[in-house]
């Protein structure tokens, strides 16, 4: 079989075969999905290709999308999810929206009713293309088999280039059954208006350099773009050369090692007090591949009021969207930074560094980690997980308090090693994403930190983990509440805990029933040893950590407040030592 396929060596194939042939040419070796009436031909053809492509049967299509997303984030490749028409396709939606918000490269292939039935409300027909238009980077319905291969080629190209994102391909069943000579096009056929790379102009670069060279109190804001563009080296060089502190967004974690002396930590609603202060007091912000989400800006009108702002992003629609900037550059971060670096002077900002250290000292004494307590707090678990894994785990989170705790206390030194639903904040993401990540071939232990609420949204994936013998570990932080919502009720709704207490099954019985190795920890002294034991176990494990129910995530910027108006952890009695910082 020829790799590129020239017309002379073609053979007739069905649309269903063509799908797999194309995936193989895109170097796909794992797909996540669920069969049904409208994609039966694709699944039937899979039998022939099962030595080249491994199919993971998730227990819900949403989780097929999350797994493809987790695989993509962990591997840097395009994740592939499949579903049948109607309910299968609509089940994908939450997973696709999650990937879209976080710029994750993904191709979703849905079956559709036959062309003749399109628009007739046939059994399991849904207008998935129409539904997905606002949720995908692009979407296709293939109604002409001659366009099938080219469409798949284009979909992969679109998913991974420029600002990555999910692409939908909807294929009517009769197109899957039709036959045609198969040729995989050598080049994509995406419209020329789609131009994923633009070079920064000389004058833009000069202006960037001037602003950086003149700044006294600069801060770099490092977002997901640092990871997507692979710009860690350039970013780190900039931070070192011009002595600029780097604050990271949730998805930017790992873009610069947390232990790097210029990395000051995580910004935003639950970011470091000192980090937010630095941003507010800065005279220059250099925003790199981030999008000024409301979770990192606080109240827009009061955001970093005295700074000049540089914004570099590959997506021009992000420039001047939320924050009006002085220089907005459209471009690939790695390119732009490496072009700007020679123009930037080596300098020191000692006073600024000292000021930030001062803020850090102020707030670190209020850190939960400095609390002398026999109780088990979620933050203690995450801190100990960091220690036990030597900071070297591939971390996956669900959404809630535990997610913020991971961002705060799992000091991440490695790129692409924190998988979390940032933009959409999708509960239930953790377990299926971890399963997906286990196919990425990373030589790291995988830990999914999840809440008792979130895990119950996608807990059925335990069966998938067992069926695949996926090497994942689940750290379930069980506080008996939908913790993050309970926190808001405590802060803003006078402790009316409306529908946030949540009961759980006996997780050890459940792990037994599903066939995972299960553990329960109630005391801090057992945390590290149990983590090490679980990690040594081959196959999926779950540790239930029974933690303090009423714990809060601090510090916090309430919505509508300025970024530096943070609610700090109250110091009560003698619960805090006066530890050195």
């Amino acid at each position: 079989m020829s790799e590129t396929g020239t017309p002379t060596e073609t053979r007739k194939m069905t649309g269903a075969d063509i799908v797999w042939e194309c995936l193989i040419r895109e170097e796909v070796d794992v797909v996540f999905g669920y069969p049904g009436g409208a994609n039966l031909p694709i699944y039937d053809a899979l039998v022939k290709y099962s030595d080249k492509i491994h199919h993971v049967l998730t227990r819900h299509e949403q989780n097929a999308a999350h797994a493809a997303d987790g695989f993509a984030r962990a591997s840097g490749k395009v994740g592939v999810a499949m579903a049948t028409s109607g309910p299968g396709a609509t089940n994908l939606i939450t997973g696709v929206a999650t990937a879209m918000m976080d710029s994750v490269p993904m191709v979703c292939i849905t079956g559709q009713v036959g062309r003749e039935s399109l628009g007739s409300d046939a059994f399991q027909e849904t207008d998935i293309l129409g539904a997905m238009i606002p949720l995908t980077k692009h979407s296709y319905q293939v109604i002409d088999i001659r366009k099938l291969a080219a469409t798949i080629k284009d979909a992969f190209y679109l998913a991974r280039t420029g600002r990555p994102g999910p692409v939908l391909i909807d294929i009517p069943k009769d197109v899957q059954n039709e036959s045609i000579e198969f040729v995989y096009p050598e080049t994509h056929d995406v419209l020329p208006g789609y131009n994923p790379m633009v070079k920064a102009s000389e004058s833009e670069l000069t202006e960037v350099a001037r602003l950086i060279n003149e700044a006294k109190n600069p801060v770099i804001l490092a977002g997901h773009g640092v990871l997507l563009s692979g710009a860690t080296a350039e970013l780190t060089t900039l931070a070192e050369k011009a002595d600029i502190p780097v604050a990271v967004t949730l998805l930017g974690i790992g873009g610069i090692p947390a232990s790097h002396p210029r990395c000051i930590g995580f910004m935003g609603m639950h970011g470091g007090y000192w980090v937010n202060h630095a941003i507010q007091e800065a005279d220059l912000l250099i925003a790199c591949g981030m999008r000024f989400d409301d979770r990192v800006t606080g109240k827009l009108e009061t955001y970093s009021p005295n700074s000049k702002k540089i914004h570099i992003d590959i997506d021009p629609t992000e420039l001047n969207k939320n924050i009006i900037v002085d220089v907005g550059i459209r471009g690939d971060l790695k390119q732009v930074l490496s072009a700007a670096l020679p123009k930037i002077k080596a300098t020191k900002h000692d006073e600024w560094t000292t000021t930030i250290k001062g803020w850090m000292g102020d707030s670190r004494t209020k850190d939960i980690l400095n609390r002398q307590s026999d109780k088990l707090f979620g933050a203690f678990v995450v801190r100990d997980l960091w220690e036990a894994t030597k900071g070297n785990a591939l971390m996956v989170t669900d959404v809630g308090q535990h997610q913020m705790t991971v961002a705060q206390y799992y000091y991440q030194d490695h790129a692409n090693s924190l998988l979390t639903s940032g933009g959409l904040g999708t509960m239930g993401y953790g377990l299926p994403a971890a399963i997906g990540a286990s196919f990425a071939g990373r030589k790291k232990p995988i830990w999914a930190v999840v809440g008792d609420g979130g895990i119950q949204m996608t807990i059925n994936e335990m069966a998938t983990a067992v069926q695949e013998n996926a090497n994942i570990n689940i750290a379930l932080i069980n506080n008996g509440y939908l913790g993050m919502v309970r926190q808001w009720q405590e802060m803003f709704y006078e402790n009316r805990f409306s529908q946030t207490p949540i009961s759980s099954p006996d997780f050890l019985k459940l792990t037994d029933a599903y066939g995972l190795k299960g553990y329960r920890v109630t005391e801090r002294k057992d945390v590290i040893s149990t983590i090490l034991e679980a990690q040594a176990h081959e196959g999926p494990t779950l540790i239930e950590f029974v933690v303090e129910p009423m714990e809060m995530v601090y510090p916090m910027v309430a919505t509508g407040s300025a970024l530096n108006e943070m609610v700090q952890r109250p110091i009560t009695e003698d619960q805090f030592s006066d530890m050195e910082v």
């Binding site: 293309l129 129409g130 606002p134 419209l191 208006g193 790379m197 070079k199 021009p316 009006i324 390119q335």
Partner: protein, 189 residues
């Protein structure tokens, strides 16, 4: 003078669903549209869309154009508000008339270069086209009569002069298979 209306011209692929994508994006991002006219162009496979917006914030307007350009089906998008351009609208108005009105109405339509294109018992259909001030003033005058039906197309825009760069760009985009690749290479090198 601060303009209250801005005109954007987009060249997009003539494919089913493309308008849907544009409108879906405009709605989702809350861009306010006064009119939108789409139609065929000199190049087969390319539609031309004129969008008039009263979005007052300049950053939002730039963002709107960029969001249209970001759609994978778009060739190129330009804001023609501040460049010399012909901006025209077409209108049909059905006016009920008595015999006495008819003479005055003939004069009025002639004044505005409009035409009575249909005349039946009691009602005429007037066809008019022009730039916005002209149309508004004509409409004001018409209101003295009994307007039974009115249909305005929304505005179409075309830059004055030969403006060959645009033509050349689109031609290159449509004929040169390697156009994007070259753009990317020049960005990386």
């Amino acid at each position: 003078m601060q303009k209250t209306e801005h005109t954007i011209v987009a060249f997009v692929e003539d494919e089913p669903g493309v308008l849907n994508r544009i409108v879906s994006m405009l709605r989702r991002r809350n861009f306010n549209i006064k009119s939108m006219v789409a139609g065929a162009t000199e190049s087969p496979g390319i539609s031309r869309i004129t969008i008039v917006t009263d979005e007052s914030n300049q950053h939002r307007r730039v963002n709107m154009a960029r969001n249209i350009q970001k759609l994978v089906n778009a060739y190129t998008v330009e804001d023609v508000t501040d460049v010399p351009a012909v901006i025209r609208e077409y209108m049909l108005a059905k006016v009920s008339v008595t015999n006495g009105d008819r003479v005055k109405l003939d004069l009025l339509t002639r004044d505005y270069g409009a035409k009575i294109i249909d005349s039946e018992e009691g009602a005429v259909i007037i066809e008019a086209t022009g730039y916005d001030m002209e149309m508004e003033s004509f409409l004001q005058k018409l209101k003295e009569y009994d307007i039974v039906e009115l249909m305005r197309t929304g505005k179409m825009a075309m830059r004055r002069g030969s403006h060959l760069e645009l033509k050349a760009k689109i031609e290159m985009m449509t004929t040169d298979q390697q156009w994007t690749t070259k753009q990317i290479q020049s960005a990386i090198s």
